[in-house]
Structure formats: C-alpha cells, structure tokens
Assembly symmetry: D2
Homo-oligomer: 348 residues x 4
Amino acid sequence: MSAKLKSAVLGASGYSGLELTRILERHPRLEKPALLRREGGSDGAADLAELFPELSGNGGYPLRPLSWPELKRQGVELLFLATPHEASRSLVPEAIAQGLRVIDLSGAWRLKQAQHRAIYSFQDADAVTAAELTAKAVYGLPELNGDRIAAAQLVANPGCYATSVILALAPLLQAGLVDRECGIISDSKSGASGAGKAPTSRTHFVAVADNLSAYSVFNHRHLGEMVEQLGLGDAELIFTPHLLPILRGILSTIYVRLNRAMQPPEVESCLRDFYSGKHWVRVFATPKLPQVQFSLHTNYCDLGFCLAEDGQRLVLVSCVDNLLKGAAGQAVQNMNLMYRWEEREGLQ
Amino acid sequence: MSAKLKSAVLGASGYSGLELTRILERHPRLEKPALLRREGGSDGAADLAELFPELSGNGGYPLRPLSWPELKRQGVELLFLATPHEASRSLVPEAIAQGLRVIDLSGAWRLKQAQHRAIYSFQDADAVTAAELTAKAVYGLPELNGDRIAAAQLVANPGCYATSVILALAPLLQAGLVDRECGIISDSKSGASGAGKAPTSRTHFVAVADNLSAYSVFNHRHLGEMVEQLGLGDAELIFTPHLLPILRGILSTIYVRLNRAMQPPEVESCLRDFYSGKHWVRVFATPKLPQVQFSLHTNYCDLGFCLAEDGQRLVLVSCVDNLLKGAAGQAVQNMNLMYRWEEREGLQ
Amino acid sequence: MSAKLKSAVLGASGYSGLELTRILERHPRLEKPALLRREGGSDGAADLAELFPELSGNGGYPLRPLSWPELKRQGVELLFLATPHEASRSLVPEAIAQGLRVIDLSGAWRLKQAQHRAIYSFQDADAVTAAELTAKAVYGLPELNGDRIAAAQLVANPGCYATSVILALAPLLQAGLVDRECGIISDSKSGASGAGKAPTSRTHFVAVADNLSAYSVFNHRHLGEMVEQLGLGDAELIFTPHLLPILRGILSTIYVRLNRAMQPPEVESCLRDFYSGKHWVRVFATPKLPQVQFSLHTNYCDLGFCLAEDGQRLVLVSCVDNLLKGAAGQAVQNMNLMYRWEEREGLQ
Amino acid sequence: MSAKLKSAVLGASGYSGLELTRILERHPRLEKPALLRREGGSDGAADLAELFPELSGNGGYPLRPLSWPELKRQGVELLFLATPHEASRSLVPEAIAQGLRVIDLSGAWRLKQAQHRAIYSFQDADAVTAAELTAKAVYGLPELNGDRIAAAQLVANPGCYATSVILALAPLLQAGLVDRECGIISDSKSGASGAGKAPTSRTHFVAVADNLSAYSVFNHRHLGEMVEQLGLGDAELIFTPHLLPILRGILSTIYVRLNRAMQPPEVESCLRDFYSGKHWVRVFATPKLPQVQFSLHTNYCDLGFCLAEDGQRLVLVSCVDNLLKGAAGQAVQNMNLMYRWEEREGLQ
C-alpha cells in the first residue's frame, strides 16, 4: 500500500464534523486528519475531546488554527470543510489556489443556477473567481456523478434532504417514467441534529420533544439542489421538511404519478438496475418499506415503494442518516472516488 | 338546571376510553358515568384505577359487567362504546333496540359504501338490522354534520386521522376550489397511542423510539371515511400514515392543487368562513403553521397553510390530539350536540 | 359567592408562568388574571398567545407593563411572581409595601439561613427590608405549613425538587423514625422543562434526548430548602439531580435507614396518617410505586416505598409534575389556603 | 496471521445477539460466525436480515438449526450464547462436553452462591454436572478477572447493570477505602433495550415514553452478581434499577461513604491506578461526570465522581452501553482475552 493520504478537517466541532473526524481517523488509507479551527472558532477549545467527551481515551484531537503554509508544510492534500456556508464560500478560493482538493459539506458551492443561489445571499470578495469555482465544483452525489467526482478538485457535498430525495427520484426521472404535469411532492422529516448545534428556541428540548412541525414550506435551501440535479422546473417539485423529535435520520415520503400504468416488479427493476453495483443504496422489495432506524449509523440510502392498484400513483420512501449518507459518510464516499479507492473503504 | 344525564362507557380500559372517562366525570351536565366491561374484558380488573394508577385519589372507578336490564334500571340513556370494531358491530343492534342513544368510537358504523366496509370484514349476525343501522348511523364530525348528529340515535365517531384530513379539506372542496385531476395527498403522522394498547413488536418502545415509519400505504381503514365524507373518488386521495415516536398527536400535511390562482387571504377566508362559529377549529394566519404540541390535551383541530407563489400549489397542515378531537373529545362534543348543550361544555 | 379575586401574574412567558396562567383563568374564584411584563421582558410580545400559539382561540392574553398605580387602580390584591430570583428579590419589597399579597415561585425568599442563601448571591438594595421580608416569608408547602400560609402576606413557593423530597421525608423524620447517622440520599430525576426556557447547549434537543446526566452534585440550590424544612444538618442529606429526556415530571428515589426494624404496614401508616385529609398527596400501597406518568398534568405528589427484609433499609419514591405540584399548581394551592378556599379548587 | 477462528452464535435474534453478530463479522481474527437457532426459535426466519432489515446489503445471515455434529464438522471452537438463562443452563453442559469454549451472555452461570441462584429457579437435568460447571465458570469481567478468563472454557458474561456497578466500586473496595457500615447504594437507570425484545405492557412505547419508573427494588437478579464479585454482604448494597425512556445506555449513580476523609485527587488516583492499562474503562477528571451519550455505541465503561467537602461522602457515576460493555462488546472483549488477542481488537 502506498503512503497514507494527509487530510485536514475545518469545522470538526459541529455534528457533521465530529462524525467526519471519527470516520477519517479509522480510514485505512489516511493518516489521522489534522483538525483545524477558524479564528475564534470551536469555542476556543484546544482539543476536540473538550467539546465531545465521548472522544476521550483514544489519544488527543488537537485543534490548530488554520494556516495555509502549515498545511503545505505538513503535506496535506485534501481539505474537508464542515463549516457554515459563508465560511466555505470565503475560504475555498484560497484553498483551491493553494492546490488543495476540497470536499465542502456546506451549501456554498452546490448550486449552478443564480436564482437558486439567491437564497444564500453570498457576499463574494472576488466575483470572477467565485463564478469560476461555481462552474467547476462537482455536486458530490456519488451514485449520479461518480466520474466527475473522481476528477474534481472541488466537491460540493450534497444536502442531507437533497440526498434522500434525489436518490429516490433519479431512476424514474432518467427513465422518463414520471408524469411531471401533476408535479412531484417530497414530504420529508428530519431528526434535530439536522438543525445544527446552535442552541435556539427552535432546538430547545421542550420545543422538539413530543412534537412535529413543518417549516420552510416552498422555500427550503435544499430545494434548488433537488431540481437542478433532477432536471426539474422549480414548480415541478414541492418539498416540505418537518422537524422530528429524534436525534438523527431522515425519511422522505415522495409522491409521483407515473406516465403509464406499471407493475410493481417493473418499478423495482427500474430502481435496482439504476443502483446496480452501487453499494450504498439499498432497494427494498415492495411492500417492505425502509424505516429511519434501518439506516441509522450507516452510510446507506434505503429506498422502497408502494404502487397503487391503478399502477400509476406511486409512493416512494427514502431514508438516510443525515449525518452520514446525508453529510460525513457521503463526504468520505466522495473521497474514496477522488482517490480511486473502493467506495466502501472506511465506511463499514 | 335539569337532572343530570346518566351515561355509561364500555371499553374504558383503552387509551380513548380512559380519556373519555376523565372528561365525562367532570362534565357538568352528567352524573359520573357507569363503567362497563365485557365478559373477560379489562384484564379482570374490578376498578379502572387498578389499570391506571393515575386515577387513584378521586374515589373509585368500579368496572361492572355489561347488563342491559341493569342499564335500564339505572336510567342510563347514553352509551359510549370505546370497544374494538367487532365488538361495536355486534353490540350496537341490541343497544339501539334497548332504546339507548349510542356514540361509538370504533370504525364499526362509519362507512356507508360496501366497498369501503370490506376492509373490516364484518360478520353481522343479522344482516338486515346491520344494514338499517348502517344507513341510520350519523358520521359524528360536528363541524360538518351538526344537525344530523343532534337528531341521531347512533353516532359513529370519526377516526383520528380522518378528523384531521376531512376538516382540512372540506372548506376548499365544498367551495369547489380544488383541481381534483391531480389528486389530493395527505401525508399524516401519528403518535403511538393511535396504534392501540396491545403490546406488539410494532409498539415496543425499541421499535418506535428514534424511528419513523410509513405503513398501510393505499390501504388504511380511515381512507374510506375520508373519501365518503369529502365526496371524493377512491383514486382522488392518497393517504399515507406514519408512526411517530411520540405518545399522542397527529399532524397531517396535505397537498392540494387549486383550480385557479388565489391569494393567501382568499384561502384563509375560505377556511375561516367555513369554521365561523365553530369553537373547536382554529385557523392559523399564514405563514404560521400548527404544530403537534399546540393542540395536545385539547379538543382543537388546528389548521394552517402555505400557498406557493403560483397561487395554486397549496400545502395545508392539520393537527389534532388523536385521543381528544380524534376520539374522546369529539365524542363528548357529539354528546353536547345531541343534548343541545353548548359545544364547549365539559371540554375546557 | 362573593366578588371574584383580582390577581396578576408577572412572568407568564416562562413554562411555570404559562401553566399558572392557564390554571388561574379557569379558577372559579378569580377574575381572569392581569398578565404583566417587566421592562424589556416577554420578548416584546403584546399578547401571550404570540409566544404560545396553543393559547389562541380563547380570547386574548394581553401583556401589560408592570405598574404599581395601575395594579392599585384595578383592585389587584394578589400578585404571582414567576420571575427569575433576582427579579423577585428586587420587586417583592415594593409589592409588599403596596399592600399586595405575593406568591413568589422563584428561590428569592425560600431560605432562612444565610449560609444557604449564599448560593444565590443576592444583591439587596435595602438589606434591612430584605432581612425583614426573609423572616416574614412563609415557605409555601401546604401540607406542612398550612396555617402559616393562610396568614401570610409573602409566600415563597417551594422548588420542584424540594417539593418531591420534603413531602417524602417529612412524615418519617417528624415521627423520629430515621437513623440520621448514615445520612439520607435523594437521587432525583427531572424533565427538561425544569431547566428553564433559555436555549443553551445544555437544553439543546441533541444534548438531552437519548441521554441522562447528573449535575450540581452536592451544590444544587434546592438542597438548602430541603434541609431547612426538614430540620436536617447540611451533611445529613445528599441530593443528586439528573436531567431526564422527557418534557416534565420529577421522580425522586430516596434512601433512608430506619432507626428500628419496621413492617411495611407501619411505614405505610406513617405516611398515610401524616397526609390524612391532604388531597394532593397520594400514598401508594407497597410494593406499588409511583411513576412519572401517573402525576403528570396533575397537582398530586405521589409517594410509594419498598422496605428491605431487614425492616430498616427503606427506599421511598416520590413523583410530582415539576410545573404543577412543583410550581404553578402548588402556587394555586397556596392561594386557596390564603383565601380559605377548598384546596382542590381550580386544580382538577 | 494464523487461520481465523471459527465461532457460532446462538440467539442472534435478540438485541444483544444482533450487536454481537455485527461485531463478530467485522472482527479481523474471525471468520464470519455461524448463526444458529433453537428449535422453533427466531420466529422461524431463515435469515437474520428478515428480522432486522438494517442488515440487508451485506450478504446473507443464514440462521441454521443448532446441531452439535455440524458444529464439529465445521470446526467451530467457540460458541456464544445470547439465549435466555433457562436455555443457556440446559445447553452449556453439552457444549462443554463437546469440547467447545463457551461465552454465555445470560445469567445462567454467573452466580457462585446458592442463595443468589435461587432467584432464577434453575431446573438442572444433571445436578452434578451443573454444580461442576457452576464452579468452573469464570465471571467474565475482563478488568477484574483477566487471567482466569484467558484460561476459561466457560465464561459467564456479566449483567449490564452489574458491569456498571462493579467497575465503579471495585477500586475503592479493594483499596479498603469504603465505610461499609452505612451500606452502599446504586441508583441505576437503563434504556428499554435492557428489558428485552418481548412485547409486553411494560415495554409498550406508551408505557415507557415520557416516563421513568423504579422496579425490582431489593430483588433484581443482578444484585447477587454485584455482591459476589465485590465481596459484599447481601445487606451492604442497595440496588435500585429504573427504566429510562431511551433505547440504550445505563447510568448508575453510586453512593459510598469513605472510611477516612480524602481529597479528590486521591480518589481519582485510586480509580486511575486500578484501571491503568485497561483500555475499556475511562476515568473522568472530577467534577466532570460521564453521561449516557458519551459511551453509547462504544465498549467503554465511563467513571466519574464528586466528593463532598467533608471528604467522605462520595458520589460515583458509571455509564455503559448496556448492549456493548454491558453485553455483546464485553463478550468480544472476553474472547480477545481467551485467545490472547489485544483487548481492543474488533471493538473500535
């Protein structure tokens, strides 16, 4: 085996960053990753185990200030950004200029169309470079964009909701089986880690437990990713996220009308064939449906479906762990592609 | 005030029956209700407080075997059935023959159309009487059928899911505002008390907590109620129930296409006008949406909505407490109507 | 019935304040209470229903700035403070000077001994008055201090944990049955509403769910109340609070050594006799034990116990709803005593 | 590396058995374990993935009937029993006679003293053999009995509660620092997976969620293990288990009086020295305390403590994941010892 890859993580103190750190340190192809903090970030902790006592007992997790010369000196080749989108938007140009490959877990570089990016209100210091990078960034959904990810310098890791919805819909849409006249609906539900680590009145235990709520109806940031990657018009997909009283996991219930009557085995074949050879998508045999628990703590996206007797009204169910296939696990899967490693490596 | 009404409850040992008992004993128009058990029922308990220690300290809750002569002797006029549908189906003919008024919380008498009733596989001892009672039974949704409930001898209390869906859709459908071509979708989520008190692998804590699952897609028993009450064709409504990791509460997210572009205030007026003077439905001002917690432990059905920019794609959110507005509270609201009392009485 | 009492609530926007408001508005002896806010308080809301949508549909809950002349003009006699202890400490002297009776739900006036008060670091503007009021304040545990509460102008409503612990221990201690040599231990567990409404990293859903943690070992603020009311030395009681992943409810498991071997019926009699005629304490027959759910949404304190075969090692279990018997419900019970109403009034 | 070990698991369909299967299949020293079912067991499933859909996508998990000749033919050397204690009690004599090494996760062989075993009411077919095996079985707590486990043919894997309590107390007791006059108390709390997979009224979601309850006070089966392993008299330890509304994890809060005043660093040293070189116990620096979340999904036992100002009253907090360090993880740790592998192997 050749020398191990040197990598760094900026933003390890968030939920996705923590998961990423834990996966990377066990990945057989990597040295233990360097953990970086931004100026004033990570609550001033010197070691990640101060923030997450669950990390203690396995040696240290020192957090060091981000320094480009230091990264070069250490021979770091790959930088993971688990930072807020504003930070990713401002840091990536320099990282790319430094010759690093970058996997960005934020929404900073996912969107190609200006009308979708508007929701983020990016303030680019250098608009020309930002436009170039936007064009160059590859949307990091391995099952769809594997070849381009392999060659990418900048990978924009997908949103958690977007992962669950795109993977469920891509096979049918690419096969031209969907009646788009009536629109597609994704009613999605996510655990509270998806709302981030900042304590707010919305993430208070008393506000989440024993509750369910819909939010950001018609204007969630992940909607743009979905329609861009699926080749849909903005009005062809309704996406309604809900906040579940659980820690992690996403379940999307997706409603599609097929443009001709089909039999269940045809639908199942469409899904299975599309994901043939793709380890991280599991297709359930109808009428069995995925549940949130089945993919928790794994990198799987689980897909299942029920077809109405008329053969046209289709309900798809798609589950991912929002912190793994929806974030850190998928980032590692992307890394495996970028370095031509087996896509399961480090993820089992 | 005239003499207090004498009532009885059969099935107080279930979740809905317990709630019902607690409401009835505080209702100012009623004597403390007689609690009845079926042969071999209620785990042989002599007092309901043996099954529910939370009832202790308020005097006894003796459970007595059901006896028609005894009910007559006591002067009971109104019988609540919180029994499984098979039991309700077999008991109601005799109760009606005895001259009792009946509010049945099960699914036994809700459905008018044979193809919908098929899902229950009723075994009627006397098919003629069963058919007569089926025709005579009034679907007990007070906001829709108030006059008929007032005059009814047999009220079929609606299903919990059905209550949340019908109340959300009735205003728009009756106003003829819905484009039914594309179909209507209700993605509904319920707490685990809706699954009943029987311990099964499906209701085990470990199977429900940290989880979410869809079930009975295209074939849930409440679908028939919905389409019958809303005047829809069977294929015009998709209903997908989900099991939430919470004790109680239902949230239905409902997708409708309007047949013309509307403004949010028009939609809000449609809902508000329809429920004008109806205390137990609350309409939220868009973009505020109901959450499960808001109606917990109340008899309210909360309605809210978001309308897309195109003015046609509409998302409705409807919440009820499945044990109150979805069961016991609604039963008491029906009783209030049947005896011409104020509809809030005993429910605050 | 005489004219209804006029009352006011300052701090209705907290969890206890909300519960209190809901009880008071239904209390048959009271006019709807005036809701007050402090300068800059309540997030600037003009109506409590803006903060708690569950209140909508029942008329308004206007929040008005606190003004002593205005309270006098309206004829308010009784003021409830559901404010942080610093606010209660600074407001009460003026309220008392204005001739109001006050029930304070905070820790500001509960402690008689300076060494216990030290933990609060009170900054009294007028130390003499503060000392007088401290001496005059009655600890508002109705089952222990009923007569003094009835006559009090200032009632210091007990802490939630303290209520559960004191009520369990008082009968045995007053009967002189406890071997105090070995000390008494209360291992207590509380739902997250006890941690208050402020969003912090500690109250974030992700930090509380799927978790249990001990905190403030040997130095929780409620420890002082317990030893003062029970007449114990500071080292005679160990109190360990834990944060439970539930919304509300407290269960205290209390370990006592009896100073002679007893039989279970003797212990049961000791508890039952002590609380004879006290509606809001329920004693369970051993070996049945209270559970958190049994007293939720009620004003009960539930007590149960198990005695070891040696007749000396005793485990007591005590449950309260921290927002009711542990806060708002108890405040109303105190009010009932102060105005010589039946202690159940408004609490069922 | 030498040839991989061949092992088998009987009882993979329970919670502990599932965890065990998942660890064993990734263990670098083992072949994929054979999964066995008892006559009529495992709900008749032919493959474990039928019972646990989360296992799909990783090849099959065929369940085969237990057959001693077949195990011999396959060269199986080590048998894990994740069966009920009655089954373990009746199967182990034959397994030992067949020359297999056995790690039994049940309570069948943990207890040396007849008065403790009485609680299980074992019905031994061959009392002599049972007595011999009882004497021969090694209590599989690696941090205490490492050498004897290495040489054992039959390892009795400890109970989950017992693991958390014994590991917390052993250092202080062995150092003779505990004042045993006043007794030791362990107030322990466990997630619902500890109650097993059978659906009962006690494990129903509605009975566990939003609740906390104590049970088996003074008579839980694990108490015998604790006193035997710690060398205590039966009356010297009070153990009170509670059922937490979480899936997994145990937290024990343990109360000890030291027989002389100590300083916190002395206590910390006592714990750290005892577990020096033991990877799977983590000692927290006071006043930091373990929480349930920190050790979830790991094989760690986390220990922390707070010492009162008097230097004698000590509160220990001990956390384990009941399915890992409390069951399957510890079983694998025992296997590592039995085969002289590094104790971390396969557990990270």
